[in-house]
């Protein structure tokens, strides 16, 4: 792991901003382009960059395999759970209008929860697939 010093410092400098950009894409998806899918892929891009520069061990210290694997079903559960919450509160499946005190805010909240579910699943899946390929290659 005697990689270029500039490369390692540069990666360290740029990683938080990539994560920040992913969060921006996630939470600004209501107002501009973006959303769970794109933010999830950008998040997994952080892990890819980390693996390329610092090796698989460093990346898996930051994003352990067990966490990544649990993220995949967790996101689907968040999404489906949002739907079931509407069902339990007396409306149709994935009808968000009962989640808040008035319908508009409830819809905003529902969209936020659903996008969070998509983010978790996509980030987990992409990272897990990447880990699987990298581990096979060794």
């Amino acid at each position: 792991m005697s990689l270029d010093l500039i490369l390692r410092i540069g990666t360290k400098l740029i990683l938080p901003f990539i994560l920040l950009f992913a969060l921006y894409v996630q939470f600004h998806g209501d107002y501009g382009p973006g959303g769970g899918f794109q933010a999830g892929v950008i998040t997994s891009g952080v892990v890819v960059l980390l693996t390329i520069t610092f090796g698989l061990e460093a990346a898996q210290r930051m994003a352990p395999q067990a966490v990544v694997q649990r993220m995949i079903p967790l996101g689907v559960l968040i999404y489906a759970g949002t739907g079931v919450a509407g069902l339990l509160l007396g409306k149709n499946f994935l009808d968000y209008s009962v989640l808040g005190h008035d319908a508009v805010h409830a819809h905003e909240l529902g969209i936020f929860l659903v996008e969070a579910g998509v983010l978790v699943t996509v980030a987990g899946t992409m990272t897990a697939i990447f880990y699987a390929f990298v581990e096979r290659g060794r």
């Binding site: 894409v25 998806g29 209501d30 107002y31 501009g32 382009p33 973006g34 959303g35 769970g36 899918f37 794109q38 892929v41 950008i42 997994s44 891009g45 890819v48 694997q69 995949i72 079903p73 996101g75 689907v76 999404y79 489906a80 739907g83 499946f93 994935l94 968000y96 319908a103 508009v104 805010h105 819809h107 905003e108 529902g110 969209i111 659903v114 996008e115 579910g117 998509v118 699943t121 996509v122 987990g124 899946t125 992409m126 897990a128 697939i129 990447f130 699987a132 390929f133 990298v134 581990e135 096979r136 290659g137």
Partner: protein, 174 residues
């Protein structure tokens, strides 16, 4: 330019070159989508098509040999099928309304309601997000499940093979 890159992909025998050209194709496609004002799709194309796909394809190249095998079969039948499919698709576009017309069928059905009521009903100004996560929530749930299934499938395939390989190695060592 898209056509040039496509021809280059077909002619390229070295798979590393093919991966790089596919990435270029994805970026060009993203630019085309931006020109068409589909910024959300362009973002997805740039991050998925050009980003993650390239990384995974390169990881795959690390596992297999990097030169395409020369095909021995005759090339006439695939050519006929490709030209036939292309001709059918072009014939299909003849029935479409001209690009950008406001009174096309897709702009008359539920589209206007989504566009005009999105802030009133959901408080989310980006209609793409509100359609994706609210009006068409079922579809997105399905998409998320597809990604979930794909991830589980790839992990099972790759790790299953690895475990089998490891036990065989262990057996040889003993």
């Amino acid at each position: 330019m898209l056509a040039v890159v496509t021809v280059a992909i077909v002619l390229q025998r070295h798979l590393f070159g093919v991966v790089v050209l596919t990435t270029i194709y994805s970026f060009l496609m993203a630019s085309v989508l931006i020109v068409l004002d589909a910024v959300d799709v362009a973002m997805t194309e740039a991050s998925v098509g050009a980003g993650i796909s390239t990384v995974i394809l390169l990881a795959t190249l690390h596992l297999i040999s990097t030169t395409e095998m020369r095909s021995f079969r005759t090339k006439v039948l695939p050519l006929v099928v490709a030209i036939g499919t292309g001709a059918l698709l072009v014939w299909g576009t003849l029935a479409l309304p001209p690009f950008g017309t406001a009174d096309a069928i897709i702009h008359k059905h539920v589209g206007p309601r989504y566009l005009s009521d999105t802030i009133k009903e959901t408080g989310v100004p980006n209609a793409v997000t509100s359609v994706l996560a609210d009006y068409r929530g079922y579809d997105t749930l399905g998409e998320t499940t597809v990604i979930f299934t794909a991830g589980i499938g790839v992990m099972l395939l790759l790790r299953g093979m690895r475990r089998r390989g490891r036990t065989e190695e262990g057996g040889d060592g003993q």
